[in-house]
Subunit: 257 residues, 2 copies
Amino acid sequence: MAGREGGRSVTSKVLLLLEAFESSGSPMTLTQIAAHADVPLPTAHRLVGELVDWGALERDENGRYVVGLRLWEVAQNAGRQLRETARPYLQDLFSLTQETSHLAIREGHEALYIDRVYSSKRVPRASRVGGRLPLHATAVGKILLAFEDPWLREAYVARDLEAPTRHTHVNPARLLLELDSIREQGYATTYEEVRPGSCSIAVPVQREPGHAVAAIGLVMLSTQAAQMERYLPALQGIARRIEPAVARWPLPGSHFR
Amino acid sequence: MAGREGGRSVTSKVLLLLEAFESSGSPMTLTQIAAHADVPLPTAHRLVGELVDWGALERDENGRYVVGLRLWEVAQNAGRQLRETARPYLQDLFSLTQETSHLAIREGHEALYIDRVYSSKRVPRASRVGGRLPLHATAVGKILLAFEDPWLREAYVARDLEAPTRHTHVNPARLLLELDSIREQGYATTYEEVRPGSCSIAVPVQREPGHAVAAIGLVMLSTQAAQMERYLPALQGIARRIEPAVARWPLPGSHFR
């Protein structure tokens, strides 16, 4: 059948090739890409060639492949409204706190970091813009989970929960209780749950009361954990300012996958 | 032939579909996408379906298509090193000037905006992160052109030059002279050349003397044009700080296309 080779469509092969770059930001050889996508080397060679011609991939100085700036340009349109709306507020949050400020949304069972303003302090970082972290291990993630429907919270904690550090809360029953109190108090904190040396605090951005369309938070050195709560007025004030703007957003596809 | 339909490869059709989203950030109907890509509607329907399943495209509330966050995630890897290196310096530049600060590189005959810190002032904006503008109409673009090889400058001005406003400099001979003096004085300015109401100033980020790998600049209200030069020490100081970091970058593919 036209457009199909060996049972899988050409489109799906092209997407599998791009997937190879999803987790790794590192340059890859053709052999590595083909292996990742489980596509025969000659096929990979042809398809990668087309992707390079268009600018979806580029070759670096050593002849290895990286994601191309043209794909980045096209993709900047994704969530643009969301980022452009949030950016000035994140900058305000940073001005008020001088701490790394970020905004995340839920994508499946992870927090997806949409934008961030970096403090020049050397805080151990686990996430990056465009990256994801498990919901239960981060303050923004706990918020996104706490302000979800009960069935979704329960389905989430029923899964095998990763523990990136020995501080990560992974006991399902206790996690549900923690989510309840987060919902009640209106903010979440973590202490070295995703990386030793850092702690975080976050509040919901609510489209309608009780439902978080996004979360904004701060990451700082874990030595500052005792003073985190002093940033709550700034966080909550900024969240209230973002809310009227996000009320008009089309909700991004945040299906569980 | 496998992977080909009607003379064009499936890959090229998929890329044509994505191209439809390159200039426009607006949601599109299937018919609009098919028309843009010049692909029959049934083919577009099938390929767009595969792109949606993967997350390269998403449907909004009205059933129209937008670029998906998953594609954005993958694409964030493009130029990541560049953005992550530049971001703290751009924030410093913004702190020092309180004016919208950005970094651009040359991609073909346009300036591609890689990152930006927004001032809360209401400056008429022509560009956005991931967007492009003609090199001759912007301060960062004039820098990127002025610090290029002479043959490239000449080839550039020999083209038909757009004039987004009546202030845009488009006379080839005078533009070449302007580029010479920009190179000599080490900075470029524009006054309402890309949009009425805004002016800009930029300096090169030099990987080796005389060659700009990027440009950093400020955009402000054109009523401030007379005071633009007072920001030169900040701009040049920040550029000098970025340079040691960029010396290690692999150069992005900045071929003329």
